[in-house]
């Protein structure tokens, strides 16, 4: 109840929230000063009454922010009081290297083996380019090679399951998935190039030279746009463009396999230099970030998931919901960390090292107003691949856009299931179902967006991100424990 210095000048005037009515009253209060009882009341409404017309509640955003911070801090304290410090870096090393005692390094061997299908792929391409191999025969070899590639981890991990650690098996599946997508792209782009190459060989030399001039013009135009990454490219001399058969060698293929993209092209946009401060920041982020995620996992995720086991077996709905919500917070935090580390820190690190200048690894999915937009923006490499190598080819084959979309969703659901079921060795369909559930969810979110505005659609998207994942994790964990350690629940 302390007062500003000007308060006694205008005696009964409030300093806050000056309304229209108050302006009128100022004149009136001057008249009333002559009254002996110094009146200080006048007719007006409370701010919460509709008739007051008051609607300034900006302070509540800060209130929400503060409650969230305090709640988070309390959860951290509660966790430490309950479980003590569980972070154990030695354990990380064991888990990360994926060593099982006396079994050697099967994961590492399997990753190294992936060179074989890669080399086969390149050989076939060279054969096709020099017309040693027939077009149809080459394509059959490619398809078989790529299908075998994706089947190898399934078969090996199924047969020699005991030799693989969980993290090791996951890494293998992840690497083989990415290889599958990259090789599909490589083969398809080379097919496009070969088709045009053969056509242009049939035509006169005059037309071909125009085509080359146009390409070089295009390349110089490419160097002026962009700001941060592109600035280096501006100083660059215009390099000669690589044309079709010249790209078919091992160095070019390995550059593509390491580059942070799933879509092959002959002349990737390049930066002229490596920005050292940028590189060091990204390396630090990856190193520190991985430790934070591992620490969170040991300290927060594992106890929460373990505690959820019994409620999920007993199908106790109240406790299940409580556990789900409790698990949702650390899981969501870890997912956010994982997203930043993978899509910003790691892919930018790879891009910087490889002079790769297209850093569009994610778009603003946090503002997505429906599920479709979210899936189109959170993982740009996969989205670009799906559009370029699946959706458009299927549409060009004459199918409708809706069936092309459903096809893309099916393939995507298959790979989600693949990445989870193979390492866990439990062939449940929760991940597949989770992906397919996005189709009805997409209708719900679009309905909410149209009916109740963009804000509501955005909330549905966030809810599906925050709650969907821990639900799937708990279902898998439950089934995994029941399959492998049935006696725990007894």
């Amino acid at each position: 109840m302390s007062h500003d210095t000007d308060e006694s000048k205008v005696r009964y005037r409030r300093t806050q929230s000056v309304t229209r009515a108050e302006e009128i009253t100022k004149k009136e209060s001057n008249q009333r000063k002559s009254q002996p009882d110094k009146p200080c009341h006048r007719p007006r409404d409370s701010l919460f009454s509709w008739s007051s017309g008051f609607d300034n509640f900006t302070g509540l955003v800060n209130w929400g922010f503060l409650l969230l911070t305090m709640g988070g801090f309390r959860l951290v304290l509660e966790n430490f009081i309950k479980y003590g410090i569980r972070v154990d870096p030695v354990q990380w090393f064991v888990v990360l290297t994926g060593r099982n005692e006396g079994q050697g390094h099967p994961s590492l061997l399997l990753v190294l083996y992936s060179i074989v299908p890669i080399v086969i792929c390149l050989m076939v391409e060279k054969g096709l380019a020099s017309e040693v191999i027939m077009e149809s025969a080459g394509m059959v070899v490619h398809v078989v090679n790529i299908l075998v590639l994706v089947l190898i981890p399934m078969v090996v991990i199924h047969v020699k399951g005991q030799a693989f650690s969980l993290v090791g098996a996951m890494t293998v599946c992840f690497v083989y998935c990415i290889l599958f997508l990259k090789m599909w792209s490589y083969v398809q782009v080379n097919l496009w190039c070969r088709t045009q190459y053969k056509q242009s060989k049939k035509r006169s030399g005059r037309r071909q030279s125009i085509s080359i001039a146009q390409l070089q013009n295009d390349q110089s135009g490419r160097a002026v746009n962009g700001n941060g990454v592109a600035s280096g490219a501006e100083k660059d001399k215009v390099p000669k463009l690589v044309h079709y058969p010249d790209n078919l060698h091992l160095k070019d293929l390995f550059y593509f396999l390491l580059a942070p993209t799933l879509c092959y092209e002959l002349n990737f946009p390049r930066t002229s230099r490596i920005r050292k401060r940028f590189l060091i920041k990204r390396i630090l982020e990856v190193v520190i970030g991985v430790h934070i995620v591992m620490g969170l996992f040991q300290q927060w995720m594992i106890p929460s998931v373990k505690n959820s086991l019994v409620p999920f077996s007993n199908m106790d709905l109240t406790k299940m919901t409580e556990r789900l919500l409790k698990l949702a917070i650390p899981n969501h935090l870890m997912w956010l960390c994982f997203f930043y580390l993978t899509f910003h820190s790691f892919l930018n690190l790879m891009g910087e090292l490889l002079h790769f200048s297209d850093r569009n690894f994610y778009s603003d999915w946090w503002n997505a107003n429906n599920i479709d937009t979210f899936w189109r923006t959170w993982n740009m490499p996969v989205h670009k691949w799906c559009v370029r190598h699946l959706y458009i080819p299927v549409v060009e084959m004459g199918y409708s856009r809706i069936s092309a979309s459903v096809f893309v969703f099916f393939i995507s659901a298959f790979f989600h299931e693949y990445l989870v079921s193979v390492p866990l060795k439990t062939f449940k369909i929760w991940a597949f179902m989770g992906m397919m559930a996005q189709i009805p969810l997409s209708f719900v979110s679009k309905f909410m967006e149209k009916q109740y505005g963009a804000r509501c659609g955005n909330i549905v998207v966030w809810a599906s991100i925050i709650l969907g994942q821990p639900l799937a994790i708990m279902m898998y964990y439950h089934d995994y424990v029941i399959t492998h350690y049935n006696d725990v629940l007894a």
Copy 2:
């Protein structure tokens, strides 16, 4: 990965987040369409890189809102799982009526006794007005009467402590505090009026009639402003104004004592009718709200406060902080409910019943950017009283504004301590200290506001509201238990 229908038209153009660089690239991409490998990469930065210039994170507000809702819902579930249903309406009745077995109703008797000082006050005023009692003698009686009024609960509860329940004692202290403030106002306003009345009696009749005309003109001007409450007043006939000695009767005094204000004046602004829907809404809010607050108290506050006892005795800092943060949430929620119920529902209900049209019971304290503003806006009746009857008179007596402010803070701190210590029968100084701590806090919040912007000042205000109260509650509870049930901790 489903797609909009126009997406295949502009093949490699992203639908989201169109940047300046992208506009340039559109032209370029048309040139590049002729290339056989369908290039889909171009130099650009990731959105999280500073060089991208991207800053649209509006979705994160929804994210915060959702996490807050989920966290709250989980806390409710956890509470029910841990403690079961503790809500017991029979207990409320026992607590609310404040009955102690075989002790009668001391609280009710004490509240009824307050009529005695009220009647004494009115008698003295009448005596002063008719010049039966000397001015100085009357003032001495007034001061003694008002001081005795505020001392009665202290003495009675101290002497007959065992006969009072906690809620009963609190009600008594609260009623006597309000009576103290109202009677101070009544006596002071009558003093102002009497001074002018005596002056005008000495002057000629001509000047007095002008004064009356001016007052009536003012009254008709008063009826046009305001919207909701005032609309009733517009249709009203202009009533005759009450002048000084005519106001001194029991009906007028009791109207003031029941009216939702602490500042007396001879002619309160009135509404012409009772809005029935408004009244029913407010009654329902009070009835339902009291039940919600009582339920929250039994189910959430009592277990949290009890659990905090041992950590606070052992001075275990980590557990103390965790308990404090855990207690802060239900305490803050209850405070918000209490605020709404008291300052909006109950005071509007009283105002509506009494045709009292000034409903300015609170201002927008939730937007307050420093502690001063918060104290000036959250409780308007007390703030108005302090300015009109304490701050301005002290300044007019010739003291500086700063000493007047400190004086107001001291009185306010005394009454905060009074309202807590007397019912708890533990004369600690936590509430007094809490109020006095507002002075340094006010400097901190003003510094934060100037240094880091209004947002930061608002966060400091919210933090002091959310954390200050539970800290004081736990300290009082701790001392209360140690004083009265020392064996609990053994």
